[in-house]
């Protein structure tokens, strides 16, 4: 209750099904950004539900989903995911979703140089306005479409390196690297014992 706010810590009661008492549980707000049609929703649905719907519909506003995974070191991470709409008219709303986010996934489509440009725009915006310790991932999606690739691994890797992000290519269609993406983010998150609580 009360008038506010999206403090993730008090959002949704039931997260501790997995929370065995000895393992550390982290709750993390994750935001996906990127041009419309690059496959953000497909990535999330693949990760959360294990599905791929090729007729995936353009996102309106933003969708909220959550998924919990266990890492190798027996840490449990609950991702509270904002899948934002890539349509231009929603760009100004993005701060609503990346504010307070512990992780940001910036997605482009490897067959579309424009979407790679757009990804760089989002990276800049996050650097300016996102949390300072935000974990950022650059994701080249639709790796199954390598025949029509327009953005090379090298240039993306180079861009990611120079901006302190990690880079991965995924395919929501084949599920390639989807779990790896989120596991890697989980690994890179600052551990709660050593840093902030929520």
């Amino acid at each position: 209750m009360g008038c506010s706010t999206s403090s993730p810590a008090k959002s949704n009661g039931s997260f501790d099904e997995r929370g065995a008492s000895d393992s550390k549980t982290m709750r993390i707000k994750l935001v996906l950004l990127g041009d419309s049609g690059v496959g953000k929703s497909c990535i999330v649905l693949r990760f959360v539900r294990g599905q791929f719907d090729p007729s995936s519909k353009v996102t309106v506003g933003a969708s909220f989903l959550s998924q919990t995974i266990a890492l190798q070191d027996s840490t449990t991470v609950k991702f509270e995911i904002w899948d934002t709409a890539g349509q231009e008219r929603y760009a100004s709303l993005a701060p609503l979703y990346y504010r307070g986010a512990g992780a940001a996934v910036v997605v482009y489509d490897i067959t579309s140089p424009e979407s790679f440009q757009k990804a760089q725009y989002w990276v800049k915006e996050l650097q300016k306005f996102g949390s300072p310790d935000i974990v950022m991932a650059l994701v080249g999606n639709k790796s199954d479409l390598h025949a029509s690739r327009k953005v090379t691994v090298e240039e993306a890797q180079e861009y990611a390196d120079s901006n302190g992000m990690f880079f991965i290519e995924t395919s929501a269609k084949t599920a390639d690297n989807i779990n790896q993406l989120f596991e890697e983010i989980g690994k890179r998150l600052p551990r709660p014992a050593t840093t902030q609580k929520s």
Binding site: G2, C3, T5, L45, K57, S63, F64, Q87, Y90
Partner: protein
């Protein structure tokens, strides 16, 4: 459309039309009109208060048949009159000031007040109205024979200006009509609201008050009158087949897809669509087109813009152009121009309302701050800001031919037992706090329950546009979403935020807040509401009601009238059986076979309609009835509130009955063989039954207007 060619029939597209989809309906339609007119004359004193009769007769003109220039003109005149009250409030100040007024009016055009949607027709008839009509009637014969009729021969200067303008307008229209390939413009009626004329008419019509000074500029060729009968039921024909490109385009069946994307104004198929909608900017940039790719239609949009802004530069506004059986309707909303081109023969006020709703949908997505973009840059391209919204618009336009809310400006409820609806309302009420502006529980466009914060009221048109937006955006179905929206009637300037979650595939919860940070709070609220609805089994009741479907006339409690005996439980599959039954009824006992009805409760702003059941199950039959209701409703709606009136129309397809009182409006369709007296008995009985069932059929306890 070549009427005899059945292959032109198509589901789910505007390609079908009342008049043309049905071979032979042309004659029927004439007969229909005549019967109706005769009725009007017969029943004159009892059905029409005498001071109204003139207006009513005009209304007839607005219905399905137009075999003469007179009727069109009268119709147009009346429409223009209705509009004038809103758009030209201060004409006596002369053209110059007047232009400014119009402009400022434009600026403030759509700030969400009701006058706008209601402007055409609900006003009390004023002396100006009547005068205008009378005058027009007088000059109609002239209209039919002369090229221009500037109404007031005694002011040569005004005429000159007008004629000059008309010539130019005509020229652009000729260009325009050859682009969109409607009939030559010489045979069309152009209706322009004219400042100059208003000024002129002032001195000559001492009784006209400021509301009554409409301008009527008619450019009619004698050819029009003579060719009208021949042409009025033809579809667009491609004159120059050399222009045809893109012949084998892909047609997608789903209306939800952007249709006919590959077409442009040179495609034959593009020209054949029965109903086009365009949105463009005042600089002529395309914003939306129902068919075809906006990019490719840039030239066409520029032509439309040229016509509109030319007239506007004269301080006037173009309202509509009629050419053969095509109507081109224009609506200016600040820097946004909306145009429909149709050959569906819908009344002008209906078409205008559709444009208004289209504009409302645009605002719902972008708010009126979109106008700021054009202030900064007149050539601003709005399309990128509308990316991914094609479905929203196409589904809205589709609903113009099936959803009664589109012309009733009311909402309808999912039938539900009173206790279940109360429980649902209590669940929504329970979470009401300062964060929450509105909470709606919807099943498609049907309201299950709704609550609003103190003093906040939800307009039926906002419900209509919101439910269309939500149900046509597939992405809401699977996950919980948080989206900015604008409710144009509530406040067209600001974004609100909607938390949207389907509780099951048919039940959608929408929680609306002003607070952009309220998502997690609303998410908690949803969990509480959902929990409560599950525990109390209300969710199950709702699902059952959705599965059962709406009211069926066969299930109405019977009486001695023959249309049914006992309530029968029917499932979807029963159609064959029921067709036979109905036929038997029609042929044998059939005096009053009720096929369909709509009951609109005026003070609740809600309506209830029966399902389309046999023999109205084919898409053609549904659309035919829908359109017939539409024009019937448009014609009864000119009456001042409080007037009782009943209308009775008969044609080969059905008998239509409209009954309007200050408390309710009732529309019904009967078997064409039904007798008038027994139909009226049935109407009375159905209305009584609806009132008896009011608690289950309507959402009582909170009209959106009086919390």
């Amino acid at each position: 459309m070549r009427e005899s060619d059945p292959s032109d029939k198509e589901l789910n597209s505007e390609n079908n039309d009342l008049q043309t989809e049905n071979p032979g309906s042309q004659d029927v339609s004439f007969a229909y009109q005549q019967t109706f007119d005769a009725k009007q004359a017969d029943d004159g004193p009892c059905s029409l208060p005498s001071h109204l009769s003139e207006k009513e007769l005009d209304n007839n003109g607005s219905s399905t048949c137009d075999n003469g220039v007179n009727i069109e003109s009268a119709d147009a005149q009346r429409e223009a009159t209705g509009l004038t009250t809103f758009e030209f409030p201060v004409p006596e100040e002369g053209p110059q000031t007047y232009v400014k007024k119009v402009k400022s009016e434009l600026e403030g055009a759509s700030d969400g007040n009701q006058t706008e949607y209601n402007s055409d027709g609900i006003e009390e008839p004023d002396p100006g109205d009547t005068n205008a009509n009378a005058e027009h009637r007088e000059c109609s014969p002239r209209v039919a024979n002369a090229q221009f009729n500037s109404q007031d021969k005694s002011d040569p200067k005004g005429n000159e200006i007008l004629e000059q303008r008309d010539t130019v307008v005509n020229r652009s229209l000729t260009a325009f009509s050859s682009t969109c390939n409607i009939e030559p413009v010489e045979s069309s009626i152009i209706r322009v609201q004219s400042a100059v004329e208003n000024g002129n008419m002032e001195g000559h019509r001492p009784y006209a008050d400021s509301e009554g000074k409409i301008a009527s500029l008619s450019a009619v060729d004698g050819v029009a009158a003579s060719s009208n009968g021949r042409e009025s039921f033809e579809e667009i024909e491609v004159v120059d087949s050399g222009l045809v490109k893109n012949g084998g385009l892909l047609k997608r069946d789903l209306f939800l897809e952007k249709q006919h994307q590959s077409e442009d104004d040179s495609s034959e198929s593009w020209r054949k669509h029965k109903k086009h909608f365009f949105i463009l900017s005042h600089a002529g940039k395309p914003i939306y087109s129902r068919y075809g790719d906006e990019h490719k239609l840039a030239g066409f949009a520029a032509t439309l813009q040229a016509i509109m802004s030319f007239v506007e530069n004269g301080g006037d506004r173009i309202n509509y152009v009629r050419s053969g059986d095509h109507q081109v309707v224009f609506l200016v909303k600040g820097p946004v121009y909306l145009v429909s081109i149709s050959s569906t023969n819908e009344p002008l006020r209906v078409l205008r309302r559709q444009l208004d709703l289209l504009h409302g949908q645009l605002l719902l997505i972008l708010t009126r701050s979109l106008e700021k973009c054009f202030v900064k840059n007149a050539n601003f391209d709005l399309r990128p800001l509308l990316g991914g919204t094609e479905n929203v618009f196409s589904s809205l336009i589709h609903s113009f031919s099936w959803n009664f809310a589109s012309f009733l400006s009311s909402y309808t409820c999912l039938p539900l037992s009173h206790t279940a609806r109360q429980a649902a309302g209590a669940a929504l009420q329970d979470i009401a706090d300062k964060n929450l502006l509105f909470a709606l529980l919807l099943s498609d466009s049907k309201v299950i329950s709704l609550v609003g914060a103190q003093k906040a009221s939800l307009h039926p048109d906002d419900i209509f546009l919101l439910s269309n937006f939500v149900s046509s955006s597939e992405s809401f179905r699977n996950t919980e979403s948080f989206s900015p929206i604008c409710l144009p009637k509530y406040n067209s300037m600001t974004f609100l935020y909607a938390y949207i979650r389907y509780l099951d595939p048919d039940i959608c919860l929408i929680l609306i807040t002003k607070n952009s940070d309220a998502f997690f709070h609303l998410k908690d609220c949803r969990a509480r509401i959902e929990g409560f609805l599950m525990e109390t089994h209300v969710l199950r009741d709702i699902s059952n009601s959705v599965a059962r479907g709406g009211l069926r006339v066969e299930e109405l409690p019977g009486g001695d009238v023959s249309y049914t005996s006992a309530p029968r439980s029917r499932r979807m599959g029963d159609t064959k059986d029921s067709t036979i039954t109905v036929k038997l009824k029609a042929g044998v006992g059939g005096t009053a076979g009720l096929w369909h009805f709509i009951y609109r409760c005026v003070y609740l702003d809600q309506y209830v309609a029966s399902e389309f059941s046999s023999p109205l199950e084919t898409p053609q039959a549904k659309k035919r009835l829908f359109r017939a209701y539409q024009s019937l409703y448009a014609s009864i709606h000119g009456a001042p509130t409080g007037a009782h009136q009943m209308q009775y129309r008969r044609d080969g397809n059905f008998v239509l009955l409209a009954w309007s009182t200050s408390d309710f409006e009732f529309l019904a369709a009967f078997d064409p063989l039904a007798e008038k007296s027994s139909s009226i008995t049935v109407c009375n009985r159905v209305c009584q039954w609806v009132r008896d069932m009011e608690n289950d059929l309507f959402f009582i306890g909170g009209s959106p207007f009086n919390w």
